[in-house]
Amino acid sequence: MLLDNFRAKLRNSLQVWRDAGIINDVQYQQITQYQANLEKTVQNRSAKTVIVLASILIVTGAITFIAAIEQVVTREIKVLLLLSLLAASNITGFYLWQQPIKAQLEGKPVFRKYILGKSLLILSALLLGVNLSVIAQLFHINQANYELLLMWGAGVTLMAYSYEEQTLAIFGLVIVLVCYLIFSNELPYLNNDVRWIVIILQHIPLLLWVVFVPLSIWCKSRTCFILTAIAFTLTLLFNIKPLQYLNTTNNFSWLAAFAFILPPALLWSYDDLLFPKVSKRYFQRVARNLALACLCIFFYILGFNYHWQAPDLTLSYIKPVNVSLNNAASIDIAFLSVIAVTQWLFLIQHKFSWKNLVILSWIVICGLAPFWNYLYIDIPNVPVILFNAMNILFCLLLIRHAMQTRERKEFWGGVLMLTLLVLTRIYEYQTDLLFGSLVLTLYGLAVIGTGTWFETKIR
């Protein structure tokens, strides 16, 4: 509406301007022509809005119709209807989705059918979920929500594999993650459960890495890869909960060590070329950036004093950890370690570089964190200082690298991380106000100085 109003005003003004001699006839013609083109797109947009509204009405009508006949129709017909709806949506979606690709291969212009086809494929993924839940209800299958969700997630992921479609891949990943979240609420109450679904969900980090990383390559989807990497790291950490192993003496420090080692080690050594029939490095850069981010976050987390307090200082709060070994997690660790070692061997034999060695040493430092207590060093706060120093070093290296390569994002990322670190430490130790203000002012000045210098330099 607003836009249309503006156009009408512009049309009037144009005539006034031409009469006043501000613009000449040729310019007037050009602007009018341009206007006419714009209006056409606006009309197209209105048509689209009408179509969307109409389809919402149709879908609502269909749902109401189903609700109306629900009591009359037998179970078999309902299932048949649902299945044929799913198949129809798949087939028309695939057909429309593929048509423009064929047209373009033949040199014809690309149509909007592509978008429609793709939307229909996504609709099919949704319909699969509807099918599963309704069929479970019709056949009186009493299942937990996460079981249905896992089935749905698996179905959508398989769809993504067969269509090589990145939206479906991301959708499948999200469903599986939601399923894991729901399941993790149940996790403490699965004492002697032996259902296969429980076993699958306990091994979700391994599954994410083995299923969704190849899928990302298959669909060539960066977003899917990034999401998979983040989800993998978080689920692995959540399954092992490594921070609980830092302050008490226990038998399973190595579990925590692997939780710190595996995500950065796997991500840094990741190489697309290891997969068969892949000739280009799609995600290696992203994976390395993620590995660095992961290391930085680990340094940041391990830099908190809270994790390193000796048990005798917190007598009232000693948790009875690791009564028994987490079997699922150890199996995951074994498999993932094999993958990580293979990747590192490939990396080292490919080309020797000091960078790899530095990163490896950082990963090892992270991995040694859970064993700190066994050293019985009486100097307090050594690990805290160590990890904070590592974090500062990391940020400074990042900033230095950014200055060399003139990467704005990297530079400001490093500065922000450093700022976060300074602020956290000031609040953590509740420093004297005067000292705090001094540090903040000095730091602010330094940021302004380097920031302006950097900005002028890259210009």
């Binding site: 629900e70 009591q71 299945l83 799913l86 198949a87 798949n90 087939i91 695939f94 593929q98 690709i101 064929k102 373009q104 291969l105 690309v110 592509y114 099919s124 699969l128 099918n131 599963l132 069929i135 479970a136 209800q137 019709l138 056949f139 009186h140 299958i141 009493n142 299942q143 249905l148 089935m151 749905w152 698996a154 179905g155 398989l158 769809m159 067969s162 269509y163 090589e164 149940e186 403490p188 109450y189 699965l190 004492n191 002697n192 459960d193 032996v194």
Partner: protein, 208 residues
């Protein structure tokens, strides 16, 4: 935006995989229906408002109750193995799996619980089955408790037993469930028999 030109068999593969997820969902239940032994269970006669929840039927069995299972042999071993947070109110750890051994004394009579075990027994006599349950919020859940059955509501919404039950609780006949139990202890429902409390005492049968 432009991707590979996909062959049409990809569509067929995708459809087949989608269908297979649906079949995977149904398979365990169908397996139980075909291979299982038929077992008759009687439900607890409970408040009608509790049983008929909209289009859902919610059932409670004798063996759902802790009071029933507590008397059986094997219960103490279970409590010892998976102790709960409070020996009186929460005797068993939340989510513990258990097997109730049921046996029938005579045909067409409800089966009775015999004992409780933590592991599936290797072999059982012909007239016994092991039914798997899960301790959840103070009762045992077998996956046989809640059913979406709009037809039950249609039959009983006007005047019948589910309404009158509340008044004449003493005369209620329990709902009889016919179920199938397979060798792994999984159960699937077969038939539900509801006795009308009207004078004729007609039995409504619902197939699952």
């Amino acid at each position: 935006m432009i991707q590979k030109d996909l062959p049409y068999w990809r569509l067929l593969v995708s459809l087949a995989l989608q269908l297979s997820t649906i079949i995977t969902l149904l398979a365990p239940s169908i397996f139980t229906q075909y291979t299982g032994k038929t077992v008759i269970l009687s439900t607890m006669p409970v408040d009608a408002n509790d049983t008929l929840r909209g289009r859902y039927v919610a059932l409670e069995y004798d063996i759902s109750r802790l009071e029933t299972l507590k008397k059986l042999p094997g219960w103490n071993d279970l409590v010892k193995k998976y102790p709960g947070i409070n020996s009186q109110y929460y005797p068993v750890a939340e989510g513990t799996n258990l097997y109730v051994i049921l046996h029938n004394e005579s045909k067409n009579k409800p089966w009775r619980p015999l004992r409780v075990t933590t592991a599936l027994p290797a072999s059982l006599p012909e007239n016994q089955v092991a039914l798997r349950g899960r301790y959840q919020y103070g009762s045992i859940v077998y996956g046989l408790e809640k059913y979406y059955m709009p037809e039950v509501q249609a039959d009983f919404s006007k005047q019948d037993i589910f309404q009158t039950r509340q008044i004449r609780l003493g005369q209620i006949k329990p709902i009889i469930m016919h179920i199938k139990v397979d060798s792994q202890g999984n159960a699937a429902p077969l038939e539900m028999n509801v006795t009308d409390t009207d004078a004729n005492g007609r039995i409504h049968k619902y197939r699952f």
